[in-house]
Each structure stands twice: as structure tokens, then as C-alpha cells.
Symmetry: none
Subunit: 423 residues, 2 copies
């Protein structure tokens, strides 16, 4: 049975500080959930002798080695040839992958650089791990009771490969005891506030509670461990208690996002939504349209950055801008009302604020954002003092706007900013 794992991260971009190894963290989290003990993470640059050393060490320490990086088409992609040498395996071409690469270039009518076929070379005895989003396939190999999983370094390719192909296989290898986890997504409360809120809800012998802040949200995870049936029952009981404690701060459970939850709420109510964005600059619309099928409930909106755009696209009155300024609840209310009426939506949300780093004044400092919400019941507005760099202000403002849509669509009271405490 697989109990000990090593992660091997390859690439000069890691050893020269160009990027952080987020792949290793993501894989560590997945292994942890399966109860596999991650003994070490080894990172090396693209050098044959370093790769060989790392592979030997990883195979000596663990019965599963998961590798990311070094399987692209270029000369510094050395992972597969290193594995072949370390395991004493011949390299063979996976013909379907080679065909797929050739077809890819043919379909675009461009000549294929020959080095691309290198990506179809795999060690004998491999099981393919298909890569739906790139030309470099991954693979699994078993040798002397050790398992090796080889994946590309690009996170967007690697993650679905693990979710769809590696984890199902690994669960089968794990047998007997399982770790089961349930995650709650929260917004509007800090990590320490959550810690207080759930204190004592779960006995450490029953399960472990952990928090992970991923701005602007905090997710709460509870993990239980045991035989499958007993663990499932325990997880259910523990999750029910957590759910009660978290209350309205929890906007979703499992692997979901605010935009997905908003979409589900709109669908359930049969509502259509429009946006009127100034300081968020399109981020609210971008997040809403990240969800497949969002055209069923997203009509569109206005990016009303300049005052002329606020007037032309949303019918904001010149007088309102002159009297109260663009960053005002009055302007936000007219923006939301204009978007709702002009686009024939049921609900519309607006943002207008000072994203910074410049443009703040003592009265209207960086981080001040006004929101408008127009529904069949009328128009409301709110002001929040957000903080951080420009991208934080935009992201947090988009989150507040989406949460306003979620709450009003579900018939919940609007968010109370006094309960949102900065860490």
C-alpha cells in the first residue's frame, strides 16, 4: 500500500526564484486528504545530474513519487530521460500522443517543430495520464513496488490531470482507512473570528478543524479519519455542527466559489442580473461569466469608468456627479438603477470607489467603495471601507458586490460590514 510520498518539482524557474512552488502545496493538500504521508518535497533545476540525484533520493524515501515539470519539448526538459536512466527502462513513443501532437499542428496549418514529438516519449510499462489542455501527456510507471507519477509543471494542465486520473487511482491504492474532508467557504468574517465561532464544536479525537485564508475568503476544513463507513458517519455529524456554528457566514460548501453560488441562486429564483462597474473595472462581470452557462442569467452591464460613461451608458445624472461626486452612494444607486432598467434585469449591482494607490483624499480615502443594489423592491446603497493594494480593493469590492447579489436573491439580509474584521 502507498503510505509515503515524495514530491519532486523540476525547473530553473523554481531554483532561481522566478516562481513559487504552488504545485507542491496543491499536491501536498491532496495527499494529505488521502492520508498519504508526504515525506519530502525536493526541488531541483534543469540539470541531468541534479535530477538524477533527486529521483534517487525520492525513490529511496517514498513509495510514491509525484513529479511536476521537465516534460515539455525543449532541450532543458529532462525528466523522462532521467527516469528511464534511474529505473533502467527503455523509452518508447506513445503513438496516440504523437498523433495528437501532429494533428494539433496540422489542424492549425503550421509546420510542427520536430522537438515536439519528444513529448510523446515515455518509459516502457507506462500508463498514460492524459493531458486535455496541453500537448505533453503525463504517465504512471511502477517499478520494484514503487510508483512514479509524472506530470507537466503548468498548474492549469497538471491539476485536472491529478483530479481526473491520478486521485481515483491513488484512492484505489490506499485501501482500508480513509481521510474524509468537508470544506465550508466563508466570507465576511476573519480567520480569528472563525476560530472563536467554531471553538469547541469538534473534539480533536473526532476530527481536525483547519482554516485557510485565501483572500478575500476563508475556508474552513474539517477532516476525519477511519474505516470508510464510520468516517462518513462521523463527518456528517461533525459537518452538521460546524454548519450550525458558521451560519450566514458560510456561503457555500465543498469546492465552490462565490460566483458559482450566486449563479445557482439566480437560476433558482429565475432572475437575471446586470452590473454597473466603475472601480472594479469589469471584475464582477468577469467573475460572473467565469461560470459555464452564465448567459442564462447574466445580461451584461456597463464599465462606467469615466463620468461620461456613467452618464451615457447608465443615465447617471450630471447633477448627481456634480453634487455628490462619482464615489457616492447617490451615484452608486443611479448606476444600479440604470443598469437594471436599461438592460431589463431583475437585479443589478454597482461599484464606484477609490481603488488607489492614487486618487484618495481625506474625505474619500483609498479603499472607500460605494455599492448600489437595484431589485424589484427598489434601490439600496452602502459604503464600505476596504483596504490593501489596488488589486485587493478591486477583488474585495467584487466579492462584496457578488455577496450583495447572493443575499438579496436568497432573501437574506445584506452584509453587515461591522462584523467583517480585518486580521
Amino acid at each position: 500500500m502507498i503510505t509515503r510520498a515524495a514530491v519532486l518539482s523540476t525547473g530553473d524557474e523554481l531554483t532561481t526564484g522566478r516562481i513559487a512552488d504552488t504545485n507542491a502545496q496543491w499536491l501536498a493538500d491532496k495527499l494529505f486528504e488521502l492520508g498519504v504521508d508526504l515525506v519530502t518535497v525536493l526541488t531541483v533545476g534543469d540539470y541531468p545530474e541534479r535530477l538524477e540525484w533527486a529521483w534517487q533520493q525520492a525513490l529511496a524515501q517514498a513509495d510514491l513519487v509525484v513529479s511536476t515539470g521537465g516534460i515539455g519539448p525543449t532541450a532543458d526538459d529532462l525528466t523522462t530521460e532521467t527516469i528511464a536512466r534511474v529505473l533502467g527502462r527503455r523509452l518508447v513513443t506513445d503513438e496516440p500522443s504523437a498523433d495528437r501532437i501532429r494533428r494539433f499542428f496540422a489542424s492549425r496549418g503550421v509546420e510542427m517543430p520536430q522537438n515536439n514529438l519528444k513529448q510523446a516519449l515515455v518509459p516502457e510499462g507506462y500508463v498514460l495520464v492524459p493531458n486535455a489542455l496541453g500537448t505533453a501527456p503525463g504517465y504512471r510507471v511502477e517499478a520494484d513496488g514503487k510508483h512514479v507519477v509524472v506530470l507537466p509543471g503548468v498548474p492549469r494542465e497538471m491539476k485536472p490531470m491529478v483530479e481526473e486520473h491520478v486521485l481515483p487511482w491513488l484512492r484505489g491504492q490506499r485501501g482500508g482507512e480513509v481521510y474524509l474532508a468537508h470544506t465550508f467557504q466563508t466570507f465576511g468574517i476573519s480567520e480569528s473570528g472563525l476560530d472563536e465561532l467554531v471553538a469547541g464544536a469538534v473534539d480533536p479525537a473526532e476530527g481536525r478543524v483547519s482554516f485557510r485564508a485565501s483572500f478575500p475568503e476563508v475556508s474552513v476544513r474539517v477532516v476525519v479519519h477511519g474505516a470508510p463507513d464510520a468516517a462518513a458517519r462521523r463527518l456528517e455529524a461533525v459537518a452538521a455542527r460546524m454548519r450550525e456554528r458558521l451560519g450566514e457566514f458560510c456561503y457555500g460548501e465543498g469546492a465552490t466559489s462565490m460566483e458559482e453560488v450566486v449563479g445557482r441562486a439566480l437560476r433558482a429564483r429565475g432572475w437575471k442580473v446586470a452590473v454597473a462597474e466603475s472601480c472594479t473595472g469589469g471584475l464582477v462581470g468577469h467573475r460572473l461569466t467565469a461560470i459555464p452557462g452564465s448567459s442564462a442569467y447574466f445580461v451584461g452591464g456597463a464599465l462606467a469608468y469615466a463620468n461620461t460613461a456613467k452618464m451615457e451608458l447608465l443615465g447617471v445624472r450630471r447633477e448627481t456627479l456634480q453634487t455628490h461626486g462619482a464615489v457616492s452612494e447617490e451615484c452608486a444607486a443611479e448606476m444600479a438603477a440604470g443598469a437594471r432598467t436599461r438592460l431589463g434585469a431583475d437585479v443589478a449591482v454597482s461599484t464606484t470607489g477609490i481603488a488607489g494607490p492614487d486618487g484618495g483624499t481625506p474625505e474619500k480615502p483609498v479603499g472607500l467603495v460605494c455599492f448600489g443594489l437595484a431589485t424589484p423592491d427598489g434601490v439600496r446603497s452602502a459604503t464600505h471601507h476596504l483596504w490593501g493594494t489596488r488589486d485587493w480593493v478591486k477583488l474585495l469590492a467584487s466579492q462584496v458586490a457578488l455577496d450583495m447579489v447572493r443575499r438579496t436573491t436568497l432573501g437574506l439580509p445584506l452584509w453587515d460590514p461591522s462584523r467583517f474584521r480585518r486580521r
Copy 2:
């Protein structure tokens, strides 16, 4: 002289996926700037035998080992006792540090848990690395020509300790030589295409060329090494050759982004830009407004997702939608023209396409995106066959749209999609 380093990251929070190892990236970057070759990063949890293994490996691979984590007061902080065992050194108390810890608790009027004094234990022969922001000091030790630097894991404490105490010492150890790097940002060509394009431009003895794909862009970095003056001259010569090879595929140099380059181009020409987004849903506007001061050139735009929004906000004709459909060059052209005219912009760009995963047809498959570009010279349109998941199509479409604005603002020819090759 110190030439080879290893970084050793300690802590269960790393091997269970709770946090990413940003310390290692930060240290890797600092070492790279000093020309120290980072041979490996080793990460292990808080287990005595794993720590001992990692220290032995690190010392065997490198002449400098920089360690973070595992020097706090609790029982699972094992770094110092491991080093003492591996190096065969006695542990002694650094009395000033012990006093500082005692005073820290006394000044707060709380009784000191005795385990806190553990933090003042250091291996014989140490040089203290003071920690201004925490109770656990760091230290340096030299043994058999190898150097060991031990630091806390909290980034806020570790980083100033490195900046103020470790780097000045390390510079002294390094003597003359430096590594210098230059980065080129490219779009519109694949990693393998770039590899061919620059093949032979740089002799491996002169410098090292590496690629980093960060969808949808690929950056190319060249690194040279030597005495400061000679290295600077060599970098200049090598960069000039690379620049010539990369040509129009290079949209920027150094740490920049497409949206920043677009903003600079618009400012330089004194142009204002508007957007008309359907399938990108706000992403083009979000990216443009990610740049501080973008209100100087970004007027706003329309998120014209539903047909009603295309007509209402942009004046797209019903006849156009009925005859050609929403995903058509005709519609894209009217969207761009409408945004430019209504918002009084100099240039406007539009997107309309099938982001997927649903909604594709044999004639208009997922990934088909039409673009419009309106300038004082008239309106042009283009169709591109993009690919990947919904978020890829959106991101790539936003990149194409921004590159169209960049090229037209700079007076360059528009992008030729046949040259854009997937990896």
C-alpha cells in the same frame, strides 16, 4: 568561496499543504542575484529522522545551507538539535538572547513558559543573526568549510534578518562575480517556436537562455555570469541579439505585463480606449484597470453579453444579429464602432465568441472568437480559433484584444494568428 547552496524548509504546514513555500522562492531569488547556484530546495515536516536526512543531504550537495523554520519554543521545533547532532557540536545558551526572551515576558507581566529558553540554545561556534521582530534568534555556523544559516520560518521575521545580516556577509564571501539577467515578454508564439527562433543566438559559455510559459504568454530570460563590468557588457550584447531574433513577438522587456505595455502605448499617443466585451465578460476591462492611473486612458465600456445588451448599450443592429449572429465579424465590428462613438474614445476593441464548454456548433465551435477594432482610420475585424477551457478562451481572447490595441496604438501590423502555435 561559496558557490553552491541548498535551502531547507521545515514544517508540517508545508508537507500538509496548508501554505506554499514562499520563503524558498524569496531566498532563491536573493541567492540568484548574488550568483550563488541553488542546487536544491529540500522540504520536510517536523520529524527528527527526516530533518537529519535532509540536513545530511543538503550539506553533501552544497557549501551553504540556508534553513527556515523549526527554531521556535515548542516540542516540534527540532532544527537546532538536529544541526548539533549532524555537525557534532555541543549546544550552548546565547545569554543575551536568553535575557531578551526573559525581558520580553517580564515586560508583559506574564510568566514565561520555560520552553521559551530553548530558543536561545545554539551550536558552539555560532555567530548570532539577530531577530528584531521575534523571540527566536537566528545564527550562522561554519563547519568543515561548509556554512549553515538558520532562520525562523515566519517570513516577516526571516526577510529582514536576511536583508540586514545574511546578505552583507554572503556578499563578502562571494568576492567579485555576479549573475545578471534580462527578461523578454512574448505573445503570439509558442515555447517551442521560441526555442527554434532563438536557437544558436547565445553560446552556452556566454549565457543561459530559459523559457517560462505563463499562459497565454511566454517569457524568455537570458542570464550571464562574471565580474560585474564584463557581465554587464556581455548581457548587453546577448540581449541585443535576442531582441533582434524575437522581433515583434516581444511586447515588453523586464517585469512588465501586456496591460501595462498597452497603457504606456496609449499614454504615449494620447489616446483613450473603450471596450465592448461579450465572451470575455469584463476581463479586458479588468486587466486594463489593474494598472494604477488607468483612468487617464480607460473611458469604460459595455459588457454586452445578451443580444439586448449589444443593441441597447452599443447600438448593434437587430438585422446584423439576425443575419450573421452574435458571434460574427459583422457584430464585432458594430460593437467596437458603437463603443468608440458612444464613449468618445480614440480606439475601441470588441470580443464576441463561444467560450464554452457548451454553445458550440459545427460552424461556430467552442473557441471561435471574433474581434472588432475601431480607430480613427475605420473599423476592422478578425476571427481567431482559440482553445482550451472556458477560462483559457476568455484569457486568450482578452490577450488578443489587448495586443490588437497595443499594435494599432504603436502603428504595428495586426497579429497574424497563423504564427501563434500551441506548445
